[in-house]
Amino acid sequence: MKKPQRANFSFYLAILTLSLIVLLLFFLSLILGSESISLGKIATAFKEKDYSSFVLTIILKIRLPRSILALLSGALLAASGTVFQGYFRNPLADPGLIGVSAGATLGAVIFSSLSLFIPIGAFFGGLMAASFVYLIAGGSKTSTDSSRLLLSGTALGVLFAAITSVLLILKDKEIYKMYLWTQGSFNAKGWNILFMVLFPSLLSFFLMFLTTKKLDLLSFGEKSAETLGLNLQGTKLLCLTSASLASASSVCAGGTIGFIGLIAPHTMRILFGSRHKKLLPLSMLFGSSLVLFSDILARKIAPPMEVPIGIITAFIGVPFFLFLLRRGRQDG
């Protein structure tokens, strides 16, 4: 039988290894980019400290904030995926499932057509969508049925997408811009976006860590969890708010990037089990690695063009995921 004892030893080892991987990828994200700059040049540039030189400008002003955003985005996506999967007790749940991404896209399109700052539109669009779903599907004090929430979220997501399409037809100049945006990209994202999402992101992380014990309990089903003392209403509010906040922040940072929210927690769950106290940080680290890696590829595949990152996460994510599913089935 394959499943090992989940000794603390392997957890801390995993955290350490993943952290090192994240650091390594972060470093690579700084030294690799569309423009090939040799390590020697980089070293010289840092030694000479000429901050107006192209090398330092590119590394410190373009690549640095971008890499931080990629790292952050990966963690946000993975964490919100973990919480959504835990709350809906569905290993296929993805931040997109509850309509947050669709709402964020709609917000982005509206702001874009009004020539307002798109990321803010995305952020609030995402939050509006989440609130809508919460109100419509679970407004009454006694209703906590998560399958209703999921269905409503999916339905509303489709509605938002339809409204978005209508807007794009009417304002056809927006189409290509938005098409690229929905594929996800960290192109043209710098310090200003980072400062915008930093506070909501950190807040969402804090809140998501508060959900871990509750999510464990929810695995027994809502009825059993309630009898063990879980306050279902409060849990719903905490889980959905924190995960939606994280999801909206990540869309604000990098557009809609798919699969990370699905793959990261699912992979870590197969490898390390479902205790959410462990699952959450593991997923976050893994998510960061995936996004950092994808962003490096996005810039290195056909420089100086940039491939939208959503395409890369799909190409990496899907086969990886299928491989994991097969592996899981062999053990079971």
């Binding site: 007790r89 089903g221 009898t227 003392g229 205790r275």
Partner: protein, 263 residues
Amino acid sequence: MAKIEVKNLTAQYEKGKNVLENLSFTVEDGEILCLIGPNGGGKSTLLTLLAGIGMGKIKKTKNSEILINQKKIESYAANKKAREISYLGQTEKLAWHFSVFETVLMGRYAYSSAYLPYSKEDKQIALSVLEDLGIFHLKDRLTNEISGGELQKVRIARSLCQNTDIMLLDEPFSHLDIQHQSKLLSLIKTIAEEKKKTIVISLHDLNLCPLLSKTILLVNKTEAFFGSLEEIFTESYLNKVYKTDFGLFRHPELDIPQVFVKN
């Protein structure tokens, strides 16, 4: 005063169709009440209501009252309620699988801070409960790696960790082999006696009733009969409610009534 008091309980899932009607009974401290009746007759609904959960789906009428320790059940906050009442449903679909120890430990949730890890004391309690139930050797196994009978014990262990005065059990013996049934039965009897718990247990197998308790509640939707074993466990009541032809005999060794189907 009674531990559990039910007064004029009328409940329905949808308007017009009463699942329970004007039900009134009490359970004293330390008593075991057996809940019997045909399938779909409202046993599970009653237990759910007694546990104070599923409030969204089941609607009670205004003059229905359920009192636990003389307090209305609605007035209990989630975690306070979990320290008074434990409930074991018929089935549980586990979304993920933790180890037996972790699962049982979660029974301590109501005593533990919602955000801090479980305390050493919590862990001690969980371990000792595992020992009491004879499943200590399974503590590191995952819940999808053990048998149905063992899993049922794990769930009971989890409920025991809640250290409640009241235990509500919904058909805990169904899906179990006969040898496990009898083991679990004596386990529950022991727990009830040693720890003086108030238990309401619904049973599918009528003949287990007399082994467990002296008080019966026979219910089938709008019909309900409450009383002692001798009063209710009779051919007339059982045949009326179950609409079958039961015969009753006295068990030679144990001196308790037992039923058999005549046709």
